[in-house]
């Protein structure tokens, strides 16, 4: 008790001194210390506010890339194994215009990071905070500069002997292939300048009550003359998303289509056109359709198995047993060892759990099948 109140006192005292400046919420929160702010304030803005001092050569970046990035993004940043390509699709002309041609002339079906990204700060900030994906925030500042330089080198934006640093990164921004490729509605462009007058924005997707770019009308009657179909699922996609009968309930107004039995061919657009734009006539052939159903797989729920381990938790056996080592009762690993090689083990243990033994109370309320499951599990514990 004494200890506790002393701890509370200590907390509230320090809180008091730190919150001296706080106005509206007395006693809640405390002033952030300069070192704390520095530790977390890692973002780098398009105007490079926030970028730390440092430098890294293309050569250093090459090394970092081969060791820590290439496994996922490919030797040349081209891989699509884990994510989209980082490098590719940009040309010398794009560096001049600042707008990547492949984004609109269709010459490159995939969109690489270098094709898309307008602001170099974005790449620097992102690698610094999030890459390598499986070990984020482990690169040094100079390694980040280096690997950014190397990515730009792979995209023929920087020469092989380049050293990227906080001093020259603003100039390098002027070589970004898609630096002029963004329309922003925020009144500032990607680099933080006031927005260019010639790019008129005719939509507002930024303010809640703004007006969007598409104005549809609400028609209620005679809205169209005929239904024009433009797309239907290709037949080869039938089983692509698994068995849909298992993705719906097995009761209610509908069932999932059972594709394990096969797929119905999708009608062509022409067939749909005919079906939906001419008066429908019931098909005479339908009368023939007497169908025998044996056991539709679709209506059997895939029930998640309750394991012996689950049951041990459910019935709170763990108040007296641990998996390894003695608690009130023996560790389950010890039980398993004791019964090793005994082919009656399951039935003996089941009997003891059910009826109790020594200090262990009986467990008559647990179903025999569940006790058996538990016993089988206990015997596997190592």
């Amino acid at each position: 008790m004494f200890k506790l109140s002393k701890a509370i006192l200590a907390v509230s005292l320090s809180a008091l001194s730190l919150t001296a400046m706080a106005q509206s919420l007395p006693g809640v929160g405390r002033t952030a210390l300069p070192k704390e702010i520095a530790a977390w304030d890692i973002d780098v803005r398009p105007d490079f506010k926030g970028i730390p001092k440092g430098e890294g050569s293309v050569a250093l970046g090459n090394k970092v890339w081969d060791e820590k990035c290439a496994s996922c993004h490919g030797t040349f940043g081209e891989s699509m194994e884990v994510f989209g390509p980082i490098v590719g699709g940009t040309h010398a002309d794009d560096i001049k215009t600042g707008h990547v041609k492949a984004l609109w002339d269709g010459s490159e079906p995939k969109r690489s990071t270098l094709m898309k990204v307008a602001t170099l700060s974005t790449i620097w900030d992102y690698i610094n905070r999030a890459m390598p994906w499986n070990a984020p925030k482990t690169l040094t500042t100079n390694e980040v500069y280096g690997v950014v330089a190397y990515i730009l080198n792979m995209g023929d934006i920087l020469p092989s002997d380049f050293v990227l640093s906080d001093k020259n990164i603003k100039e390098v921004q002027q070589r970004m292939p898609n630096r002029n490729g963004m329309i922003s509605e925020l009144g500032v462009d990607a680099e933080g300048n006031n927005f260019k007058k010639d790019q008129k924005i005719k939509y507002d997707m930024w303010h809640a009550r703004g007006k969007g770019d598409i104005q549809a009308k609400e028609c209620m009657k005679d809205c169209i003359k005929k239904v024009e179909f433009t797309s239907t699922l290709p037949d080869y996609t039938c089983t692509a998303h698994g068995d849909l009968s298992q993705q719906n309930r097995f009761f209610g107004p509908v069932r999932g289509v059972d594709q394990t039995l096969g797929c119905n061919p999708h009608p062509s657009l022409a067939e749909l056109d005919k079906e939906y734009n001419t008066p429908y006539k019931a098909k005479p052939g339908a009368k023939l359709a007497v169908v025998s159903i044996t056991k539709p797989a679709s209506v059997e729920p895939a029930i998640a198995e309750t394991t012996g381990e689950d049951l041990i938790k459910q019935y709170k056996c763990t108040t007296c047993h641990k998996m390894q080592g003695k608690l009130v009762g023996p560790g389950f690993n010890e039980v398993a060892a004791k019964y090793k090689g005994n082919d009656k083990a399951v039935s003996i243990i089941s009997h003891n759990i059910k009826n109790g033994i020594g200090m262990m109370p009986p467990h008559g309320h647990i179903k025999d099948a569940d006790i058996k499951k538990i016993a089988e599990f206990v015997l596997t514990v190592k």
Partner: protein, 450 residues
């Protein structure tokens, strides 16, 4: 105790329960084994319910439904004691409706999406365990006692808050949808996926509890004259960062810890996340650890390389944030089979990032005529609205569509209206009217119409 649903053995197909091309072939060549098989396929699922009714009808002539006449395992045995499931879980019969990945959409599970099973959900609240998932660097289960939240930047007094601090503050509880900007992205060019789970399942709706962000911004004394934007940042590996305008930040943005009456689920940002109502989900930064007040947008990775819209002229729209009005029929919907002719309740969801849903119209004839659906209460701003409408299916081919109108007067567009302005490569913000084709044999599939 049997958990198997046992359907009858022999049933007669409802009239017209045959695919049209197939029926032509049948008229010509008769019903051979192969075709018989196709018919079986198309309505084997549907037959389950019909079968039981048919079997019942047959049995009734003798004595009655055995499920009524006989005792059951349930009424003659002792049930489980209280707290057998100290944290309750759904019935074991509900295992089909779960979050699912769309095969081939992404390459690694840590930077991927799991879609919510909208086809079987009711009302407007998404159960927390079924809320869609979208992570960029996996999810973490973070220790709340070690979680810190910092508000800094253009402020008088930058501050750090613990969960103890945050949960002492005045809280609000509000129902809002979260929709990934890329929801329905696969359908920009053509139909690509079979069910509403995969076409629309990157949207969910919860009651979020937390502290208005404005409370914190006031507490630190943000620079009222010069502050224009804030940056929100997560505590996970991706350190997700997003720019939010200061008007929004002061309006209805919540620093949330509660979801549907309990703490947030780890997959949804436990113990702290931002909720930015109406804006694409990526802005509702999970595992929130820092807010920076500034005067310029931040150009984060997911504001430059992704979550931007490529237009046909090669220009890319940045910071397109609002999720405009959208609706979809969730039942009957793609990949389902109607169990027979007759009455159905067409049901679905509508939502708008700009405000409340004013109306939802439903067409069953591919857009020739529309009827007003019933909006179930509550109808809330930037939240799911559930709509229902009666429909009697006469067994003829139908095309089901829904169209939302919000309280700004905005009408949900067709896919072609979107394509005329934005082309087919913009990935994000596809809020087009969805069409479900009901074939005369009862199967529902995804199609697109002009």
């Amino acid at each position: 105790m049997s958990n198997r649903y046992k359907p009858g053995r022999v049933i007669k197909a409802p009239e017209n329960f045959i695919d049209s091309s197939l029926s032509q072939a049948i008229t010509k060549d008769g019903l051979n084994e192969e075709r018989r098989d196709f018919i079986r396929k198309s309505f084997v699922a549907a037959s389950a319910a019909i079968a039981s009714t048919a079997a019942v009808a047959k049995a009734a002539a003798f004595e009655g439904d055995p499920l009524i006449l006989n005792h059951t395992d349930y009424d003659q045995t002792l049930g489980l004691p209280v707290a057998s499931n100290p944290y309750g879980v759904p019935s074991k019969y509900e295992t089909n409706l779960i979050r699912r990945e769309s095969p081939g959409l992404t390459q690694v599970g840590g930077a991927s999406v799991a879609f919510a099973p909208l086809q079987g959900l009711f009302g407007i609240i998404t159960p927390s365990g079924l809320h869609f998932e979208r992570h960029h660097q996996g999810w973490q289960d973070m220790d709340p006692a070690k979680h810190r939240f910092m508000v800094m930047g253009m402020v008088k007094n930058p501050k750090v808050y613990t969960m103890d601090d945050i949960m002492r503050l005045p809280s609000v509880s509000r129902i809002h949808f979260l929709e990934c900007g890329a929801n329905t992205a696969t359908e920009w060019g053509n139909v690509a996926v079979p069910t509403v789970q995969y076409t629309h399942g990157m949207v969910s709706c919860s009651e979020f509890t937390g502290v208005p962000l404005s409370v914190f911004l006031d507490d630190v004394g943000y620079d009222k004259k010069n502050a224009k934007f804030i940056l929100a940042e997560g505590a996970d590996g991706s350190g997700m960062t997003r720019t939010i305008n200061i008007e929004n930040a002061l309006d209805d943005v919540i620093v949330a810890y509660g979801q549907n009456g309990e703490m947030l689920r780890p997959e949804n940002g436990y113990p702290l996340r931002l909720v930015v109502p109406g804006v694409q989900g990526v802005s509702s930064v999970k595992w929130l650890r820092r807010i920076e007040v500034g005067d310029m947008p931040y150009g984060a990775k997911d504001e430059v390389s992704h979550y931007v819209d490529l237009m046909p002229n090669g220009m890319t729209r940045q910071y397109t944030s609002i999720q405009e009005a959208k609706s979809v029929i969730t039942s009957p919907s793609g990949g389902q089979v109607l169990v027979g002719k007759g009455f159905y309740n067409i049901t679905g969801l509508a939502w708008s990032g700009r405000g409340k849903i004013k109306a939802v119209d439903v067409s069953t004839d591919g857009g020739r005529t529309w009827r007003r659906a019933r909006l179930e209460t509550p109808v809330l701003s930037k939240a799911f609205t559930r709509f229902n409408i009666d429909w009697v299916w006469d067994g003829s081919p139908a095309l089901l569509q829904s169209r939302a109108v919000d309280d700004t007067g905005y009408v949900q567009p067709t896919i072609n209206q979107l394509r005329e302005v934005r082309g087919t490569k913009s990935i994000y913000h596809n809020n087009a009217i969805q069409t479900w084709r009901v074939a005369d044999f009862g199967e529902v599939t995804n199609v697109q119409v002009k």
